[in-house]
Amino acid sequence: MVNTGDTAFILVSAALVMFMTPGLALFYGGMVRNKNVLATIMQSYIIICLVSVSWTLWGYSLSFGPDVGGVIGNLSWFALTDVGLTPSADYATTVPHLAFMVFQLMFAIITPALITGAFAERMKFKTFLVFMILWSTLVYSPLAHWVWGSGGWLAKMGALDFAGGTVVHISSGISALAAVLVIAKRRGHGKEQFIPHNVPMTVTGAAILWFGWFGFNAGSALTSGGLAASAFVATHIAAAAAGLTWLITEWIHRGKPTTLGAASGSVAGLVAITPASGFVGPASALIIGGVAGTLCYLGVMAKSKFGYDDSLDVVGIHGVGGTWGALATGLFATVAVNEAGKDGLFFGNPAQLWIQFVSVVTTWVFAFVMTIIILKVLDATMGLKVSDEEEVRGLDITQHSETAYNV
């Protein structure tokens, strides 16, 4: 039976999660140089359009449709056949099936959008479009099915991922890592200074992300009530704690607390709490977030160490933060918060940590290998990177014949 409160909550949550992707566009857009801001925003914006159509046609069916061997959904829900105004039998049984579908769609949108930060300022737009369709179909849908699909093998194994630590953050973070290994660095990387062109834009984006993340995590309770409230609180506290610890870490390391640091830190906290949000209490959330702020800061430092060009730190924030969060779920989860969950190591169940570890490794390997393959094929056929001259003139003009600001 459809419950009006639950439905209101899921629909509003879906709207909030949708709003995250434009938020991400601003978060990323502010960090690139002037000449690439539109191209960066565009990558997020067009993914909303692109994935919405592919998800409607086949993505949802592959992810959540009737299970095929624990690995993938079949295509019997193609074009949303059988996805109607009444609840589904398997998912979110108090809200219309369409509401669950569209809530999931918003996750399917933002996940590939997260990756775009890795190759910002240098990818060909045409190739980008093809990459995103392929990635969404070949990487996201299987992963979503494994973890959240009825019959998915990771779900059956008992892996906990409340709102997307593996499916969303590890998958995007590790695919980002694969991408920066395949796509050549930006011209001048390591020599020229790539300074954010508009930090207020980035902070605005971070704020929209934070705002939308309430829908992301609390909405993942799929009902309105205690669990949603608990996830909401955990989300907020972790973000706040991570904002502070990132700030403190850089204050110690570099001698200054920065605005971009506070914003980055809070996003790192949101990433880390995502898989745990519906399984842990407020004090655990404080710790998970607090650790994430410092850990992701170190994760970002890694790129200069290893020399890869992860333009906007997708690996350092989503890869590291998502991994930490998925493992931390195995540490801090407690059935006191969520009966449908499990206890973690700190609540007497070390097995859960192992399960989490397996799900993390699986996601790492799967996302990495698949992304490498897709990109290698595209490199050979369409080319990944714009020409040197196009890079110098900027993607806004060369890919889109636009300039962001005309004063």
Binding site: Q193, I195, P196, E250, H253, R254, K256, T258, L260, G261, S264, Y297, V300, M301, S304, D313
Partner: protein, 112 residues
């Protein structure tokens, strides 16, 4: 006719402008520029990486005056723009061959 170009600290603009007006200068043209010199720039930090920014925001004032006004105008700028700290800037004086007021077509002194 002489053109005086002065590179000054931005927050000194108003004082210099007032000073010049007092001695009878009627117009000037101002440009935002970035200066490089003995005055140090600063360091910026983004996501834990340090960036050196060598250029310092400066204001360039261009004033065209009759030759007999140059000394006085330069003196005023020197006084008003001076803080005594490094980076106060420079004044460059050059000569012009012709000055024209577009509105009236006047030339030379009348055009200023």
């Amino acid at each position: 006719m002489r053109k005086i170009e002065a590179i000054i600290k931005p927050f000194k603009l108003d004082e210099v402008k007032e000073g010049l007006m007092e001695i009878g200068v009627k117009g000037m043209t101002v440009t935002e520029v970035k200066g490089f010199g003995r005055q140090k720039g600063h360091t910026e930090i983004y996501r834990g990486a340090e960036y050196r920014v060598d250029f310092v925001p400066k204001i360039k004032i261009e004033v065209v005056v009759a030759a007999d006004m140059v000394a006085e105008a330069v003196k005023v700028i020197e006084q008003k723009a001076k803080t005594g700290a490094i980076g106060d800037g420079k004044i460059f004086v050059s000569s012009l061959e012709e000055v024209i007021r577009i509105r009236t077509g006047e030339r030379g002194k009348e055009a200023i």
